[in-house]
Symmetry: C2
């Protein structure tokens, strides 16, 4: 009996790769076992089950994405920072569609609170310090940016913007220009 050297870490990482290949909701403990050339039951020592595996992949993706975003904004400010930050999200979604979908998994409140999700929120606030927003407008803006990054990435991955002009890259740049302009002139009071 040869030991493959499984650990929770390695299982989750392989799960993330599998997600990128076949889609996050097609990730299965059985397929993972096949890839490790190991019996299914063996994985249950490292992962509580299918749901636990998915949650762990989600946490892993959130962490990885937060690391990338942090790298992207380091040493930048203002619009530069906004663009680098936004690009980190979009690029992650294009390079790792499965992990990106995983990062959007609904987590229960305690898990979410202990996840890298809070780093994402903090970084978004940091970006917004380059603009002149008072609380609670800053919170509204955090939610807007989250929605746009999340939504755009999701639609783009679903193929929503392919096969039609102008290309996605063009729209993305113009949307970021627009968001930058919006944040600089954020309407304090409802427009007439």
């Amino acid at each position: 009996m040869v030991r493959v050297g499984l650990t929770t870490e390695r299982v989750v990482r392989a799960g993330a790769e599998l997600a990128d290949e076949v889609g996050f909701d097609q990730v299965t403990v059985s397929e993972l076992a096949r890839r490790f050339d190991v019996k299914v039951a063996s994985l249950y020592s490292h992962v509580k089950g299918s749901q636990d595996l998915r949650t762990r992949i989600a946490l892993f993706a959130l962490e990885e994405l937060a690391d990338r975003a942090a790298d992207a904004i380091a040493g930048r400010a203002g619009k530069d920072a906004l663009i680098a930050f936004a690009d980190a999200y979009r690029d992650y979604g294009r390079e790792h569609p499965g992990r990106s979908a995983a990062a959007r998994l609904r987590l229960d409140p305690e898990t979410a609170a202990a996840s890298a999700g809070v780093r994402h929120a903090r970084m978004t606030r940091a970006i917004l310090r380059g603009y002149d927003l008072t609380e609670p407008d800053q919170t509204h803006a955090v939610r807007l940016l989250g929605s746009v990054f999340h939504g755009y990435s999701s639609l783009e991955t679903a193929g929503g913007f392919s096969h039609s002009a102008p290309d996605s890259q063009e729209s993305w740049m113009r949307i970021l220009d627009a968001l930058d302009a919006l944040l600089r002139t954020w309407p304090t009071t409802p427009a007439p």
Copy 2:
């Protein structure tokens, strides 16, 4: 043998209700059979299988949502129309989380092209006629609005905005104010 009176229509509708109760990705042909008090195999005359069922629920949701959005914008223009339209999306997500998730299912290109998705795109363009955007800025704006509606609804359903101030309704209103302002002053050329 009593006949229940199954049709594809009824099966799909029940599937949509099931999705709202247990979540779109927990929808199962078996559970549906249980609810109709019918054997599983019986459903396979009405639906090709699990994947087909999910796709049909997605198409149903897209249609229903398009109808609602169309009602919402009828007789309105400008910011009024924008808000009514956006609210239709958000309300649908809150009333029908499962169907709303279904509407975000990735469809293959031909299916998508034949779906109510194209009505959504057309309506979004109609909203934007109230603003002074030239092509291709209109397309960029369509994509931005799609991302925001999609993303906000998805994050809100995931519980992202609960348990923190200000409440989601407040943010939503301020975000729509901001989008309206943005569309009225859409930056034609990248800001410096």
